[in-house]
Amino acid sequence: MLKKKMNFKDSINSALAFSLKKDKNMICYGLGINDPKSIFGTTKNLSKKFGQNRVFDVPTSENALTGIAVGAAISGIRTVITHQRLDFSLLSMDQIVNSAAKWRYMFGGKLSVPITIRMILGRGWGQGPTHSQNLAPMFCNIPGLKVFMPTFADDAKRLLIKSIFDPNPVIFLEHRWLHELKDEDFLDKKPDSLSSNIISKGSDLTLISMSYLTLEALKAKKILKKIGINIEVVDLISLKPLNISKILKSIKKTNRVLILDTGFPYGSISSEILSLIYKNLNGKLKTSPISLTMPDIPEPTSFFLTKNLYIDHIKVVKTVLKMFKKSMNLKKLKKPEFHDVPGTWFKGPF
């Protein structure tokens, strides 16, 4: 059993508090960091505890603020930036790609850039084309960046601390629908590796997932177990570096693989993993590997248009059944009444 009963947002908060305490030079900023909503509760009380000099609100200047973090970091001030949506960080691509990711290599290793950029991924309630994108592959494509995407509160805490004390720039992706969740709602035990975790053992299929989709994967596992399909669920956690050996080891055991990806399909995390599987295990699988992603379409706003857009456990179950050429009565599977909210706790609009 997990000891702590902390939800995801409190874990983030606690990781930040721990790090601010441990490194007296560290700073932390982002729009709304100490406003009444404190970035979905993740930065609550931090400026009270550590002072406005270290935890502060900022102008809406994503590009400059990222360069400023690089400048602070190369002179010894670890910096954590938070964007309430990943989409806002796009204004800072120049500083992320041309500065943060380069400042070490480009100068022959003279300096390092210990910054962590937290980005929150939106979903549902009409977040629409510019408030819902998972562009993780874009960041993974950049040499010099690490990209983490935890699912569970416990991982989030350890991984955020690890990111902050990593001497390199880390992109830290948080799914908005995870913030209120507690691990014990989904898990009873958990290994403690910080990359590609096998969070649930099985023998028939390796189900690789990321972030919020891991919860759907676990739900699907439960359902499929009833007809004797035993699924091994691998939560990616670290998108770059990717712990491919652990993934391959699992697939060698199960000989089947399905990948769940919250991003767009072209040049995606799932296609990267698929290509690694082909390169390493070509021909040795019982069924060809499959991935489920978002469609290659900007996310529309309308409730009616997003209806079947997201991957849920029912889609996963259906896909697995196809892979096994099996069937089961799916009528009893309950779809949530509204596909665009994570639960009753979500009162909108963000």
């Binding site: 102008p59 529309p300 009616f304």
Partner: protein, 318 residues
């Protein structure tokens, strides 16, 4: 107060207020499932704009676009439908409240990303110049956009190229819950700063619709005559939360006395107080017209068909 213009300004302000209040009221039925940023309290700017702008002028806006869209002559029914995610929405349900468009009146779009549409409006101004048009491009944004580099890049370009752009900043003192003091130097005059970049600037009481009208008029004249861009800054205040249908003064991020002093400067109330008893009859008729227009728009939206799932794949490419 008897002039036609005053009644027109009243009509627009009242319409804008009532539309936003109706959205706020209906939002709780959880049928408008997208973020909405209301402009209650900020009606004067858009009402004045509506009386100056010409159909062939362009306009673009931000995440808070309802009144700019309506001020430009955008279709009310299609805006409400868009917020309801319906097929008849001005963006076919793809965009929601933050992404409005009505190309029939040259309202060319609004963007949820702060400052995102400023260079786009600048590009529209460039096209007007290249095509030798007498029209102008209105670019609406909040003071938060002044914190983005692209604002300065756009103003600089507009100044260098001498293009007919009217940059319209509605300064409501807050970016979400963050007050100006955390974002911009105290006592800085944005108009002076922008003027130093090289374009003419005016400031205005954004809660006085008549003053707004005069400034928009002045700006239009200036741009037509001088063939140069202008920056306008309107000081105003929102009455509702940054995003959503409620008031959030209980959160205490805005000082009570500040809120109260701005509520006293309510643009609609103050303007309405200027009408004498003799005008009451006319006002009543206008109010009725407004209520009917809004009722029709909401009925239209509610009755409108949902987009089809096949529409999802439409319009990805031209």
């Amino acid at each position: 107060m008897n002039s036609n213009l005053n009644f027109k300004l009243y009509y627009k302000m009242k319409l804008f207020r009532e539309v936003e209040l109706k959205i706020a009221m209906e939002y709780s039925s959880r049928k408008m499932r997208c973020p909405v940023h209301l402009s209650v309290g900020q009606e004067a700017v858009s009402a004045a704009f509506s009386q100056i702008v010409r159909k062939n002028d362009y306009a673009v806006s931000s995440h808070r676009p309802h009144l700019h869209y309506l001020g430009k002559g955008g279709n009310l029914k299609r805006m409400i439908s868009e917020i309801y995610g319906k097929k008849t929405g001005c963006s076919s349900g793809k965009g929601g409240s933050m992404h409005l468009i009505d190309t029939s009146v040259n309202f060319m779009g609004s963007s949820a990303i702060v400052a995102n549409s400023i260079p786009i409006g600048t590009g529209l101004a460039l096209s007007l110049k290249l095509k030798n048009k007498i029209n102008v491009s209105y670019i609406f944004f909040g003071e938060g956009a002044l914190e983005q580099g692209v604002f300065y890049e756009s103003v600089n370009f507009a100044a260098v190229k001498k293009i007919p752009a009217i940059f319209v900043c509605e300064n409501n003192l807050y970016s979400v819950y963050t007050s100006l003091k955390d974002r911009q130097p105290e006592k800085r005059k944005n108009s002076k700063m922008v003027e130093a970049i090289g374009i003419k600037s005016f400031t205005c009481n954004g809660n006085n619709v008549f003053e707004c009208y005069k400034i928009f008029n002045k700006a239009k004249q200036y741009v037509s005559k001088e063939k140069k861009p202008v920056f306008l800054e309107f000081f105003t205040y929102r009455h509702y939360e940054h995003c959503g249908p409620n008031k959030d003064d209980n959160l205490n991020y805005r000082p009570k006395n500040e809120i109260n002093s701005w509520l006293k400067k309510d643009p609609l109330k103050n303007f309405t107080n200027n009408f004498t008893n003799a005008h009451k009859q006319k006002i009543k008729i206008l109010d009725k017209e407004i209520q009917k227009k809004i009722k029709d728009a909401f009925e239209y939206a509610k009755k409108s068909p949902k987009p089809k799932l096949s529409d999802l794949r439409k319009d990805i490419y031209a």
